[in-house]
Amino acid sequence: MLTERTEQRLEILPDGVIQVQNINIIERDGKEVTRTYHRHVVDVEDSVVSESDRIKAVADVVWTADVKVARALKRVNSNDNIEN
């Protein structure tokens, strides 16, 4: 019998960015047949309204005030040489 289930793996980068890997797994009689990945990134201070409760909980813990400031500074310093 074919069954389908999903897993979600979160990768927390050092600057607080959350990389989300949604894993779709199809099994036949309990043995994995295939798995596919769908990814997106949740940057610090991005809206998490549409994210899973798990991501919301992680963001709530990881995105401290210091992390938000450091992330904003890093973003500016990385891009300040591009005018347009």
Binding site: Q19, Y37, R39, K74, N84
Partner: protein, 238 residues
């Protein structure tokens, strides 16, 4: 012939034979049926173990290397080959990357999908088609996608395509370029080109327009229009 156990031997052998295989090799069975290739023994006693070939399918926790009923071998750590590798199957990497800093080491491969979203950074457009796929090879992420917008909603000002599968490298000046091979229902002057860049430490494409004598400017929402659509591809590093 007879085989005398070497001085200090910690194993008891009950059988031995010799075999020519690119030179003389000597094999012995121990009392449990395990096979030793004495010619190949260079490991220290602490490292020494052997492949349990007498009872395939019966992995023994005490053995470092085991062969299961499918002839799958597990337990090997570092293997150095002096010849070529031929694959009859696939080459797999762990789900979580085991990052290497060695410039000659391939440490990751992953393929999957992502959903591109046209945005101004705060507001998102609605699309009837939003398809993206990626291949990550080492620290390089190759992307391609197609988006067909049906409503800009509240999107206003400079445009970006969000939803990239990985955050780009934060190293300063490591911007990446994205090419657009197809665009339609835009409101731009004929001859202008759409392009994109991925800034360091971001997960979106800044959409650009080659419309200035000095180079590019940010593409604006009224240049994309409500039904604008585009195909794009590129790669960046993480």
């Amino acid at each position: 012939m007879s085989l005398e156990p070497p001085p200090g031997s910690i194993k008891e052998f009950n059988h031995a034979w010799v075999k020519w295989l690119n030179g003389l090799r000597t094999y012995v069975n121990d009392v449990n049926g395990g096979i030793f290739d004495l010619s190949a023994l260079t490991a220290t006693v602490a490292e020494l173990n052997y492949n349990d070939v007498t009872t395939p399918g019966t992995a023994e926790a005490t053995k470092t290397v085991t062969t299961d009923a499918n002839k799958d071998i597990t337990g090997l750590r570092n293997v150095t080959l002096t010849g070529n590798i031929g694959f009859g199957g696939q080459l797999s990497f762990p789900a979580s990357v085991s990052a290497s800093t060695d410039a000659n080491t391939l440490d990751d491969y992953e393929e999957g999908t992502f959903t591109p979203v046209l945005s101004d950074g705060s507001n998102n457009a609605t699309a009837s088609v939003a398809v993206g796929s990626y291949r990550k090879i080492g620290d390089a992420v190759f992307i391609k996608g197609y988006i067909l917008v049906t409503s800009l909603g509240s999107v206003s000002g400079s445009l970006r395509l969000t939803g990239l599968p990985f955050t780009s490298s934060s190293t300063a000046n490591t911007h990446s370029s994205v090419s657009f091979g197809y665009g339609a229902v835009f409101s731009v002057t004929a001859g202008y080109s759409v392009s994109g860049i991925i800034d360091p430490g971001t997960s979106y494409i800044n959409v650009k327009l080659w419309d200035d004598t000095a180079g590019t400017t940010d593409m604006q929402h009224d240049e994309w229009t409500t039904d604008g659509r585009a195909m794009f591809s590129g790669f960046y590093t993480v």
